[in-house]
């Protein structure tokens, strides 16, 4: 486990890549490696984070162009092998655009870019990304997005509910997301996408540590 390495993907326009690396290396002592989006060699990383930002300037739609990068093409095999992938904010948008997670993220209901701390209910700990005991757990994480309104059709929502794929729900829905959804996993549980930023909540001096567990769980098998 000492050599466990998390790949942090860097697209043109990513801006949370260094935050993620700081949180993993500095707060959790987990080794990281930046992966340029043109790379398709994922052989020396054990888990991957798609960080927040504005990949390719969010041209066309958020995450739409990033989907065609060599790295995302190589991600399919990585996910099928059971390795863990965490998509934060723009990373979540990329995961939905590329079909690793269902639904889509569209402009916030009030059109504002929202930068705030939000309270989140942990709905499912599928994949071990969150701590979900017998009692209902609530965590506080920062959000920073203009296009974070999760949208899916009713069939998809039913599938999410039936398979316990909804990981996080906003307590006070800030952006108009369907069913207050803030984060979801795939059916295997090894892919998590969420709009809140766990990497910005890893040290008390910057407002909280509720994001630590999610980042730490990248090393779970």
């Amino acid at each position: 486990m000492d050599n466990f390495t998390v790949g942090v993907v860097v697209f043109p326009g990513s801006n949370c890549d260094r935050d993620v690396s700081w949180a993993l290396e500095g707060c959790l002592n987990i080794r990281t490696k930046y992966l340029w989006h043109e790379s398709s060699d994922l052989s020396d990383v054990d888990a991957i984070v798609l960080p927040g930002g504005f990949s390719y300037g969010d041209y066309l739609r958020c995450g739409a162009i990033a989907r065609f990068s060599p790295l995302i093409n190589a991600l399919d095999e990585f996910v099928k092998s059971g390795k863990r992938v965490l998509g934060i904010c723009n990373g979540f948008q990329i995961l939905t655009e590329s079909g690793f997670l269902p639904g889509a993220l569209v402009a916030n209901k009030n059109l504002n870019f929202i930068c705030d701390d939000v309270e989140l209910d942990i709905v499912s700990s599928k994949g071990g990304w969150f701590n979900n005991g017998d009692e209902k757990q609530t965590i506080k994480l920062p959000i920073a997005h203009g296009e974070g309104r999760y949208h899916c059709d009713s069939d998809t929502l039913k599938k999410l509910l039936d398979n316990e794929l909804i990981a996080l729900r906003y307590k006070n829905n800030p952006n108009g997301s369907s069913f207050d959804i803030a984060g979801i996993t795939n059916e295997q549980g090894n892919v998590l996408g969420l709009m809140p930023h766990p990497e910005r909540a890893c040290d008390e001096t910057i407002g909280g540590t509720d994001g630590l567990l999610t980042l730490k769980s990248l090393i779970l098998k």
């Binding site: 655009e97 569209v106 209901k109 949208h151």
Partner: protein, 84 residues
């Protein structure tokens, strides 16, 4: 090879809230325009493309629309095609 001018229209599906359209509708009413029942904003993409006949070009445009220009989870598309 034939050349075609294609206009692709991408629209949010009717079931998806369009807050930018709502804001523009509100401004339109403030401007004094009466009778606006609905206002929704989409995208128009112009492509010049060549291929062996209309059918081949339509196949290419269908692929582009379905895989790139529109996200069919939230958007519908249609296009018109003119031979140049």
């Amino acid at each position: 090879m034939d050349q075609f001018a294609v206009k692709v229209f991408v629209r949010l599906r009717p079931s998806v809230l369009d807050p930018a359209g709502e804001a523009t509708k509100s401004a339109s009413i403030k401007l004094g325009a009466e009778g606006i029942k609905s206002l929704r904003i989409g995208k128009m993409i112009e492509v010049k493309i060549e291929g062996n006949g209309e059918n081949e070009v339509r196949d290419k445009i269908d692929l582009l629309c379905d895989r790139l220009f529109a996200n069919t989870v939230i958007e519908d598309y249609e296009y018109s095609l003119e031979k140049l």
